[in-house]
């Protein structure tokens, strides 16, 4: 079984996101270790990009902070290699934009994923229609591209689900990333369609911040992704954010676990 898919076997999965290099690489590294210890099943590491068109203000600003301190994807690869050396075994996924891969050199990028231990990629601007862009290289280097569905996907959801690997990233609602006070249940219908086509686990992201929301989402999905809420804690507490984020991850994992397998 795909390592990423296997991470959904410890009950409902909790998948935190943080922006790599915010506020600096050392803190990101400590945060990832602490999140893994606190029960994160998979961790998404944002590759900072100059123009993140799918992100809300919180993650845009985190990207800018990381770039301002000179964070590069090479530093993130080196960090992943160190984390693997220090016994972090859960799947680590890079979330970035197509040009972070293409502009770096796609083959070199995939080779470094394999060499350092990056299991997968989430590329919001490389949709189903463009899946051939990196398909051969992903295959050659054993890297999984995570597919996304959104409330607007409708008929597309079936085709996307059929080819999904790792897990299916289900965008909860319209718009960009960011904390939302209420999340509609539109995505539930899309998940139902996807499940008719595939056994690949479904994880919901965009807008989730509270344990109550996580519990509700875990009722209809196999996992819950939280980004902006964590990035906001990191923005507020900087280098001192590690225990705060770890405690939050623990609480959120408990919340999704309450919904069973």
């Amino acid at each position: 079984m795909n390592r990423i898919t296997a991470a959904f076997q410890n009950g409902k999965a909790f998948i935190p996101f943080l922006t790599g290099g915010d506020p600096d690489i050392e803190t990101t590294e400590r945060l990832i270790e602490a999140m893994a210890d606190a029960g994160a099943d998979i961790i998404e590491i944002g590759v900072p990009f100059s123009d993140p068109i799918a992100e809300g203000v919180v993650i845009q600003e985190a990207s800018q902070r990381a770039l301002a301190v000179g964070c590069t994807v090479d530093q993130l690869f080196d960090m992943v290699a160190r984390l693997r050396g220090n016994g972090v075994n859960i799947p680590l996924i890079f979330m970035g934009y197509g040009n972070s891969v293409y502009g770096y050199g796609a083959e070199k990028f995939m080779a470094r994923c394999k060499e350092t231990g990056v299991d997968g990629l989430i590329l919001p601007d490389v949709p189903f229609e463009e899946r051939e862009e990196f398909a051969d290289l992903l295959e050659a280097y054993g890297v999984t591209q995570i597919s996304m569905v959104a409330p607007t996907s409708r008929d597309r959801a079936r085709a996307i689900a059929r080819e999904a690997r790792g897990f299916l990233y289900c965008v909860s609602s319209l718009g960009v990333t960011g904390v939302r006070t209420s999340i509609s249940d539109q995505i539930g219908e899309i998940i139902a369609l996807a499940r008719e086509e595939s056994d690949t686990p479904c994880a919901i992201g965009f807008g989730v911040s509270t344990p109550e929301q996580a519990r509700d989402m875990a009722k209809i999905a196999d996992g819950v992704i939280v980004g902006s809420a964590i990035v906001r804690q990191i923005a507020e507490y900087g280098r001192n954010s590690v225990p705060i984020v770890a405690e939050y991850v623990k609480t959120m994992k408990q919340a999704v676990l309450s919904q069973g397998k």
Binding site: F49, V73, G98, G103, D125, E129, V149, A150, P151, R156
Partner: protein, 394 residues
Amino acid sequence: MSKGRFGPYGGQYAPETMMAALEELETAYEHFKNDPEFQKELDYLLREYAGRPSLLYYAEKMTKDLGGAKIYLKREDLNHTGAHKINNALGQVLLAKKMGKTRVIAETGAGQHGVATATAAALLNMECEVFMGEEDTKRQALNVFRMELLGAKVHPVMSGTRTLKDAVNETMREWVTRIADTHYVIGSCMGPHPFPIIVRDFQKIIGEEIKAQLLEKEGKLPDAVLACVGGGSNAIGAFYDFIGDESVRLVGCEAAGRGVDTYETAATVATGRAGIFHGMKSLFCQDEYGQIAPVYSISAGLDYPGIGPEHAYLALEKRAEYVPVTDDEAVEAFGYLARTEGIIPAVESAHAVAYAMKLAPTMGKDQVLVINLSGRGDKDVAAIARYKGVELYE
């Protein structure tokens, strides 16, 4: 290979939330472009409202002064709202209305596309919101007020470099937030498929008119067609009908800013490389990690780190050539055209005038060079005064 390709370029590199809307747009466009009613309505608006066909003017004084090719100016500056942008804005807003949308959003750099979209929206009873880099709202304050007069809401964009690329980012973010009743009127031949084709189709009337008008005046095809290129909509509009006519040299004039050997440039073909951004694969100014470069030009309309995918392909195939023109050269040409022909061009269009000043003297007197004068320069007068260190009190 995915849809909407120009050789290796183009495609649909857009977030999943946008994909259904792109499909809907493609289906609607494929229907309406062959719908005689739609075409009749658009043709009426272009003639009776926008003032088409625009004139093809023989610039006799400029021709004599430069002493080479006969120079014609395609007067897109005489269109309603003062630029070629109205061709695309009327087309897309009409299309959006036919699709049942009630609201349009747009990005703008210099403000010309924002003004054109606000105008079309006012005429066709659509709600309109325009996103403009905060830096550009300062450079082009007058256009901000024009858009507001036309009933549009203008959002200054505070992210990134606060210029055109950031305005595009923010408009894309807005579109995925409210996509069902809203159409994104992209202003240039860029973005995910089908936008590069839609914008080109609504602009190709420029080249079709040039061809017919010049045949009437000179009985021949032009030897060269020049246009400025940011995203490249006026250039693709002027070039498209001539792509099959191999004797016609097609020259896109890019904004080199302070020079292609500096970081303060926006000349994408000269300094960029292939990348994936703003929904398309094309050429972009970027660093070794694929971070998009903070580009610069005196012209807010050309201050963009990419180029439309069809231009990238024409450059790859060497069917069109792309040349860099600096701020200094453009400002010089701005004044030259004003003094010589009594026409104040947009500083964007002045980039094409500047290269014509170099190219025309190298051509024969029996040859014809057409400059697409994409917009008028009223909006730039204050900025040019600042550039020259002249203080104005309004």
